[in-house]
Amino acid sequence: MKFLPFIVRHLRRNWMRTTTTAAAIAVCIFLFCTLQTFVASLTGFLKQGTARLVTRHNVSLAFRMPNAYEAEIAGVAGVKRVAAANWFGGMRDLSKPNDVFTNFAIEANSFLAIYPEFILTGAEKQAFLRDQRGCIVGRSLAEKFNWRVGDSVELTSTVSDYRTSKPLDFVISAIYQTDQVRYPGTNDALLLFHYKYFDEATGRKVGVATYRVEISDPRQAGRISQAIDGLFENSDAQTHTETEEQYRASLGFLGGNLVLLLNGIALTVMFTILLVTANTMSMAVRERHAEIGVLKTLGFPSRLVMSLVLSEGGILGAIGAITGLVLGRFLIDALPEIPVIGDLIRSFPRMRVPPTIATMGVGIGVLLGLVAGLIPAVLAYRARITELLRQA
């Protein structure tokens, strides 16, 4: 500790170099934390609902199952609740493809019980359940279109079987909240409306695209899936049941490899920080050969000299990382404003770098600083006094 002023003085000696290095670390840590937060949301979204299964038509999601299946699925041992949910693919204006958002027709009562991550107060829930044309929307979707409770919304489906002579009209009953800590990655940009209204409007012939099945024991998922599919084995519409995690992964972008891609980028970012810091540290040690020689001559043990260089790297890393986090705190709010990236991020809203990732960011900054200081530190440790002094 008592050497701290010594180290800090060294860092200030070439303040321009220290600043640029810290800045380089800062932007990289910012990028790293942003990417990791996004990855965490994404995996959180994928891993949600371990106690939930999704049953769909055996052929694919493009086919639908009879409504009568619901009662049969509910009768399978271990099944707690079942809710029909159809992706509606509705748009306010079909000629504006960039205005898309996700909307589902759901059996509200059971669906909201199965998905506690869509948070409504008791009164809001009642208001939604009472109004057949009611719908609930996520907070960021409401903000995007400037919607308030009571506003009406008209949607036309892009799915041809769901197309009606005039658009379906809805009234916003409530704006649901999400809890990104308890349920990370919950989509905050959905519009959910009553399956019953949708079914009647489309002439009661569209059927059900997915049944969301809540089970009491996640360990029974395999057995229950088989039991459900067994029920319909000999019928016209056979089913395929899988865990919600598998279901979501199968719909994923880039065949589920987006996480891999982002992690790859994060790794490259880390390597870039290492290069920049290593460069700085080796320059710092090189220009101080004489000084290190003097320290050693005065009797400071080589070990201490080495740890001084190492901690200089570590402190540099920490300064950079903390700057990056502070920077990120403000910049991450601006991200949704960036076109395209923003659209994707908006469905993983309220992105805040969680404490775990922030800690990891600082840890990585310090660690990379230490690693960057390692070679110069070892060189300083090994170097003989005479050589050090002569080189100078």
Partner: protein, 386 residues
């Protein structure tokens, strides 16, 4: 003007620091090109799927084939339009098609993957020239057969020629493998229109019509007429434009990600380059003083150092480009309109040029401040400094 070799030699003297800066810049360029190659590969695969000479007819307002349905009667009315080109046999070149998605097990892990199944008539192969059956034989209508795309065959289990595939109520025999020049059709299964229609209980419904126009310029007029005809309510688009639009969302996302990541990483690399250049300038303070004393003006000294930064960055850019070329042709898949589409990474010359320009920008920006510092130093101070 100082000779170029001056800048090159001075980098060589400080090769350690210089190489760290070069590697840093090359990584940024490699990441940028990697993401751009993914976007370009996907776009090119879909672009190759459409031909400029063809037009696609969909239900008005439908953004994809899956979302479009119209009756056979409407399709037949379109087919008699005199503006449609005719084949050697005198029949008009119109291909009515049905599209659906079937979940089939992947070869790698047995997990289900969505495969597009297209119902076609023999006209489909006439309207699209680039499709060849490279193994097995062509499709026979009425026999419940399918030909499989080359790409989907390597990804999905049980699609060898001679194997049987159950789809809804019927078993289909795989009779051939088709090559479609790397386009999205290689990710599809093609079966007879009527066979698939009866297997999937969708007899008669068409999802799209692809037609060859005698004059591709008439697309706009047809679109107008078909939209206004209350019995049709169909839209017409050039086929190539339609497929390029399908690539839009993913391509835009990847490009935006590429720009965001590379700009932020680039700022980091610029700071790194700045360090290196600063060290170079500091170490040569005396030399700079000498140059100035010899009569080289400030702008010349400045440009010599900026040039040095530029050379560093260009070296980084070229290495990054070479790194990116390693992934050229790498296969990846993504979901588009529910079906999985395979595509190859494509490092295009334009993207490479972007990478090099980006590297050069990093070099110039990174070396500007240190170069200014070098040029501004008063001669006396510079010479005194050791």
């Amino acid at each position: 003007m100082l000779p170029l070799s001056y800048s090159v030699k001075s980098i060589a003297v400080r090769w350690k620091a210089a190489s760290l800066a070069i590697v840093g810049i090359s990584l940024v360029v490699a990441v940028l090109l990697f993401l751009l190659a993914m976007a370009s590969g996907f776009r090119l695969a879909l672009r190759a799927t459409g031909s400029n000479r063809n037009a696609i007819v969909l239900q008005e307002g439908a953004a994809s084939e899956l979302a479009s349905t119209f009756s056979k009667a409407a399709g037949d009315r379109v087919a008699v339009d005199p503006r449609i080109a005719r084949g050697a046999d005198g029949k008009s070149l119109v291909s009515p098609e049905s599209v659906t998605v079937v979940a089939l097990p992947r070869r790698s892990d047995g997990e289900l993957s969505n495969v597009t199944v297209r119902g076609v008539t023999p006209a489909a192969f006439k309207v699209r020239n680039g499709i060849r059956v490279i193994a097995g034989r062509e499709l026979q209508p009425g026999l419940y057969e399918v030909v499989v795309g080359r790409g989907v065959q390597t990804r999905i289990r049980g699609l060898e020629v001679g194997q049987r595939l159950r789809m809804m109520k019927r078993e289909f025999l795989v009779v051939g493998v088709m090559d479609a020049g790397g386009s999205a059709f290689e990710s599809e299964l093609w079966g007879d229109f009527d066979d698939l229609g009866s297997a999937f209980n969708r007899a008669g419904a068409e999802n799209s019509l692809t037609l060859r126009l005698a004059d591709p310029g008439s697309t706009g007029a047809l679109d107008q007429e078909f939209k206004e005809d209350p019995q049709l309510q169909l839209q017409v688009k050039p086929e190539r434009q339609f497929y390029e639009e399908q690539a839009g969302p993913l391509t835009r996302f990847l490009r935006a990600l590429a720009i965001f990541v590379s700009v932020v990483m680039g700022i980091g690399a610029v700071f790194g380059a700045m360090n290196t250049m600063n060290a170079i300038v500091a170490a040569r303070s005396r030399e700079i003083g000498t140059l100035r004393a010899l009569g080289f003006s400030r702008p010349i000294v400045l440009s010599a150092f900026v040039l040095e930064g530029l050379i560093l960055a260009l070296a980084g850019g070229i290495i990054g480009g070479l790194l990116a070329l390693l992934i050229n042709g790498l296969q990846a898949t993504t979901t588009a309109n529910m079906g999985e589409i395979a595509f190859a990474f494509r490092v295009t010359p334009t993207d490479l040029a972007y990478g090099i320009v980006f590297a050069a920008t990093m070099g110039v920006v990174g070396s500007l401040l240190p170069a200014l510092r070098a040029a501004r130093q008063p001669i006396v101070v510079a010479l005194r400094d050791t």
